[in-house]
Symmetry: C2
Subunit: 331 residues, 2 copies
């Protein structure tokens, strides 16, 4: 399995990205990693931090895409950036999958225009794998397409469903349409029309509309949304995740009594933290592209990035891109 | 202060509504409550439950609007329902404010067409007062208008801001536009255009776009949203609130050790529960109507309904409807 990694994407790049690659290589001996970035800078960081240099091959790319860059810069002004070069390696079959924690817009543009979409797919969707009390679910789109058409949502449902089956081994995943009520007639025109398409989609197990309150409680395995409301749901959930962490910390460190309480329930607190930690689930697959692309969270540390690489391997091994092609033929 | 109450609205009506009215009357001796509903049925429930009958006046209304009824039924088929009769009493100045835990759509239609909007207001908005780690905030619209125009959002901002000032005594409330990024150019057309209007609105303290993750962490005092994404944010937050409750309960009752821990941190857990309990904040004001209308949560129990009545009193006493009229004149 060969993974190409954008060394300069994300808030903690390149050090945490490099460390994440090391962890991934330790976890999976069959992994070969192409680390793309400013070769001299990366070699210096590797030497300074005593990182074993034999865990990956470095491919030189002189430029870096920042969060401030226009997404389309990956095609023109920054075509020699780590991200653009990494996409080209993926395109040329020098790697089986791609991982970056960088500028989401640039990942979307690069994947769509350099690597290309699966034939017949109208829009690629960013699918976040999120924790619920009932296990992980995927929500898509969560930001790649702020304005959607009903047929995009229909394809998102097919792709999300195949992802949950192939990569997370969930049998017959329940697909719900994010909406402001459970009745068919609820929501804006987009959701009303999408509902009718989803009802007749032969590739999915559609359970109807899902309301926001059922999302964190594991109401379904695939939450289909336009990129705007999906993004907001994702971020509201992240906010609540932070809130819970803070509340638990405050509650369990306030005074001597609460510190004693912390000792008594530490294992439950840790189990819960692990279950609800989005870092455990890696990054967001960009579904609809003709090769596996994973967008790791911008704030990824080494562990989160390692999990994103693991996810990229599972994605590449699953053969799900072929499954999407077959499903499209059925529609 | 005279409040008119729809006795048959909500999942726990009419018993919890009646109990809520009693609690409110005990809390505020200057309150007079008009309870509208099926007189015989209400009197029987009052007698059976040993409720002091002198706390309110009952106005007979033979019909009831259910959750399955069309919102417009309040105007025609069910014009003699408790909700419709209550709206007419409000309209005729027999009461200073209205409270119902019933069908939201019917509350919106009844308020808009029987009581009427404030002159110049294009759409009424349902504003949920929600808990954050940093105190309450109002989010509007959260469901009255699934499809919005930029100028509606601009008026929502003005009304939400006045509500937080007048009713929650927050000086110079920070207004944020719910969006999928902080940059001006982010989001669908609606949000991009609304951003420009909000920037130039002389009645508000606009702090820019707010992302979902900052909403539960108290990122601003007034969250402006279209009714669709606002509704989803509200319900995702409710889902996480439930999730936290469940997690804390499971964590603190698992075994003997965790029960001991529970004893040690009970006061912190209770403080947190109280702070994050939406029932503490009453119901959702319907802003933009020419008289105070409060939509209590459908699942309201007596305490939540009592708080909704208290909120209706504060709303009526605040004089904020006049303030909205004055603000509109400035725009």
């Amino acid at each position: 399995m060969r993974i190409v990694v954008d060394a300069h994407g994300g808030d903690n790049a390149p050090l945490e990205i490099i460390k994440g690659c090391c962890l991934a290589a330790e976890e999976n001996k069959d992994l070969s990693i192409l680390l793309v970035g400013r070769k001299n800078e990366l070699q210096q960081i590797i030497a300074e931090n005593g990182i074993p240099g034999n865990r990956f091959e470095i491919v030189d790319a002189p430029d870096v895409i920042t969060m401030e860059d226009e997404p389309t810069s990956v095609l023109k002004e920054k075509q020699y950036s780590s991200m653009a070069v990494a996409f080209k390696l993926l395109k040329e079959d020098k790697a089986d999958a791609f991982v970056s924690a960088g500028n989401s817009g640039a990942v979307l543009v690069g994947a769509t225009l350099l690597v290309k979409r699966i034939r017949g797919i109208k829009r690629a969707a960013l699918g976040a794998v999120m924790p619920s009390t009932d296990g992980p679910y995927i929500m898509l789109d969560c930001g790649a397409n702020v304005e959607c058409k009903p047929e995009y949502l229909d394809q998102f449902a097919t792709m999300g469903s195949i992802y949950m089956k192939s990569c997370l081994k969930i049998e017959n995943p329940r697909v719900g349409l994010l909406n402001n009520g459970t009745e068919e007639c609820k929501g804006p025109d987009l959701q009303q029309q999408a509902h009718q398409l989803l009802k007749n989609n032969p590739n999915i197990n559609f359970i109807g509309n899902i309301e926001g309150r059922d999302v964190p409680l594991g109401g379904c395995d695939v939450v289909v949304a336009d990129g705007f409301s999906g993004n907001i749901t994702l971020k509201v959930s992240e906010g609540w995740g932070k809130l819970i962490s803070k509340v638990l910390r405050d509650m369990l460190t306030k005074n001597l009594k609460s510190k004693l309480a912390a000792l008594l329930i530490m294992s439950q607190v840790n189990d819960f933290r692990k279950k609800m930690d989005y870092k455990e689930y890696g990054g967001a697959p960009l579904l609809g592209i003709s090769k596996p692309v994973i967008k790791a969270h911008g704030s990824s540390d080494a562990k989160a990035f390692k999990n994103a690489i693991r996810q990229a391997c599972v994605f590449a091994e699953s053969g799900m891109i072929r499954e999407i092609e077959e499903a499209l033929a059925k529609e």
